[in-house]
Structures are given as structure tokens and as C-alpha cells.
Symmetry: C2
Subunit: 192 residues, 2 copies
């Protein structure tokens, strides 16, 4: 057992524990939730010793916070930079997420942790505000009458779709997109 598998760099498989831990977090926190995933199971899945995990993260709380920070869904990363779309299409593209995408871990973390002071809860707030701000920016480009308001409204639709999909186990994003279309057209029409 001395000869372990080696990675592309020729280094021992053990190296890069932090990334494996975060990878296992993404998988297990999504599949089982945060509270129902123990550190033992998480470390086993990541093929990392528990000791190592607690040298990279001071505790589970910090790991959860970092897990949220790492998570960057398509909403924030690519959608708003697509110049091939009109501003209106860009706003609607935020609702066009593949069904396999894990459902809003920010809401999940805030509900599961149930502590507004928890670092992960604070980051969840920051993230939600950032999304609303981005939507407002795109709304401004699209020529909306009140971009801030429209951004907040669209953000609420995204959260509603996420929550409803989670509870009902049925994709609610098409419904949200339909509402978004009505809102956007209404807001743009108001300026014309």
C-alpha cells in the first residue's frame, strides 16, 4: 500500500486534500443536506483523513461557509456577460437553468443552519443581494422604468422557483420565467 496512485503532476494522491474536501462537500451537502452529513462520512468520501480536514478548516462551520463561497452557479458567472443576447434575453436567461443544477444551496444553508450570524448565513445574504444587484444592472441596460425594483422582483422569482422546486419536487423555473417575461415587458413598456 506504499505505492499509491499518482496524479498528473506525479505527486502523491494525498496532495490536494482541500479540493477533495470541498468536492465531497458539494456532493454530500447537496444530496443529504448539511446537518445530515457528518464529518466522518465527508472525510471518507473525500478520501482524506479527518485530521487533515481539521487542519484545512477550523471546523464544520468554516467548511460550510467556504462551500457556499466556492459555489458559483451559472446565474452569476456567465449569464450577464453574454453579449450575444439582448438585455431582455439576458434577464430571461437567468431563469433558464438546467434541471440537474443543485437547488440554491444558499436558501438551504440559511434554513438548515437557522442562525443569521453564522458565516454561511451572512454570505448567503451577501450573495442574494449581489444577484439582485446584477439583475438590476441588466434591467437598467434593458431600459426598465425602475431597474432596482425589477431586479428585486426577478430575484424573488428565482428564489420562489428554487424553494418551490425543492418542496414540490417539480421544476418551477418555467413558471418563474413566464412571470419574468410579463414583468420585464411591463417595465420596459412603461418607459416607452
Amino acid at each position: 500500500m506504499t505505492e499509491l496512485e499518482k496524479g498528473p503532476t506525479g505527486r502523491r494522491r494525498g496532495r490536494g486534500a482541500r479540493e477533495r474536501i470541498l468536492g465531497a462537500s458539494r456532493q454530500l451537502f447537496r444530496e443529504q443536506g448539511i446537518n445530515r452529513t457528518g464529518m466522518d462520512q465527508l472525510c471518507a468520501e473525500a478520501q482524506v483523513s479527518k485530521r487533515t480536514a481539521y487542519q484545512h478548516f477550523t471546523g464544520k462551520d468554516e467548511l460550510v461557509a467556504e462551500y457556499l463561497r466556492q459555489f458559483d452557479p451559472a446565474v452569476m458567472s456567465g449569464v450577464f456577460d453574454r453579449t450575444d443576447l439582448t438585455p431582455r434575453e439576458r434577464l430571461l436567461a437567468a431563469f433558464d437553468i438546467p434541471p440537474t443544477t443543485p437547488l440554491c444551496p444558499y436558501i438551504g444553508a440559511a434554513v438548515e443552519l437557522h442562525d443569521p450570524e453564522h458565516p454561511a448565513s451572512q454570505y448567503a445574504r451577501d450573495y442574494k443581494k449581489a444577484v439582485a444587484a446584477r439583475l438590476a444592472g441588466a434591467a437598467r441596460e434593458a431600459g426598465a422604468a425602475d431597474p432596482e425594483q425589477l431586479g428585486e422582483q426577478l430575484a424573488l422569482l428565482l428564489d420562489g422557483a428554487a424553494a418551490r422546486t425543492r418542496v414540490l419536487d417539480a421544476d418551477a423555473f418555467p413558471t418563474a420565467a413566464a412571470v419574468a417575461a410579463v414583468l420585464i415587458d411591463s417595465a420596459i413598456r412603461a418607459t416607452a
Copy 2:
């Protein structure tokens, strides 16, 4: 300690344990969440012995399910029966919930339990569908073009406001109500 306080019926305070348990559930599950509320604490708060609790409910799971069944927010109970309002006002009244109201325990339970097969999760689904159906019914009375669609859309707005309020710790229901007004007017205008 033999002379315990007596209730209005003259019966011993010990009687009616089930109601006290459910009352404590409503309080503690809301304040601390389900997973973070232990049966020990819950029984202490309800002034009920643990043994009694487990004679009324086979386990915490059943208690959680019953807690959800008991919870009947204003959305379902009174709003739709108010004949003093126009159908349109009735639809909007669903969004006019007092800020002190505990925030959608159904979403909370579904997220916290993280098990679609859990009795409470199943009831949460049923409840969400029932709300959408009621909204659709009111939408029909209001003369909406597609009542089912409008009902689903309004239900999504309610869930979005609940989720967003929980994460951001800021009342999102006014925003949802504003969107609802646009949707309703748009749906009614389509029929005229």
C-alpha cells in the same frame, strides 16, 4: 407539590398534554428549527414528561408531521372566505401577512428534513398544491384568462417571498404583492 394548578375545567394541569406538546412545537420549531430542537427541551417547555410525549406520538417524525398539519396560516383559513372583498382584493390579501407571522414552516420542514418520503415533506407538498388550487379558484372568480396558471404563479410568489424573507431577514412580501398586482391585472385584462 401535590396541589397543582388547575385549569378552567377544574382538571389537573397535567391533562391535555398533547395540546401543550403541539404548542411547544409551534414555538420551538419556529424559533430554533426542527433539527435543533431536542425532545428533551421540547418536553420541558411543554411541561410534559418525555414518557407522555412518546405515548401521544410514536416519534419525533410523527410529531413534526402533526405540527405541520396543525399549522394553518391565514392564507388558507380566512382570506378566501371574505365576501367583503372583490375577487381581485382577495387574491392580493393573500400577500398581506403580518410581519410577525412565522415564515412558511412547510418550506422549512422540507429543507430541514431533506427527505421527500418523510410524512411532513409529503404533507408540505399537499399543502402547497392546495394553496395553489385555492389561488386558482379565486383567480377563476376574478375572471382570469388562465386561472390555473395564475394560481401557480401567485403561489410561486408567496414561496419566493417566504424564502427571501428568511434568507435576507427583510420583509419581501410587499415586493411579491406588487408583482402579484401586475400579474392579476395582466391576466384579467387579457379576458376583457
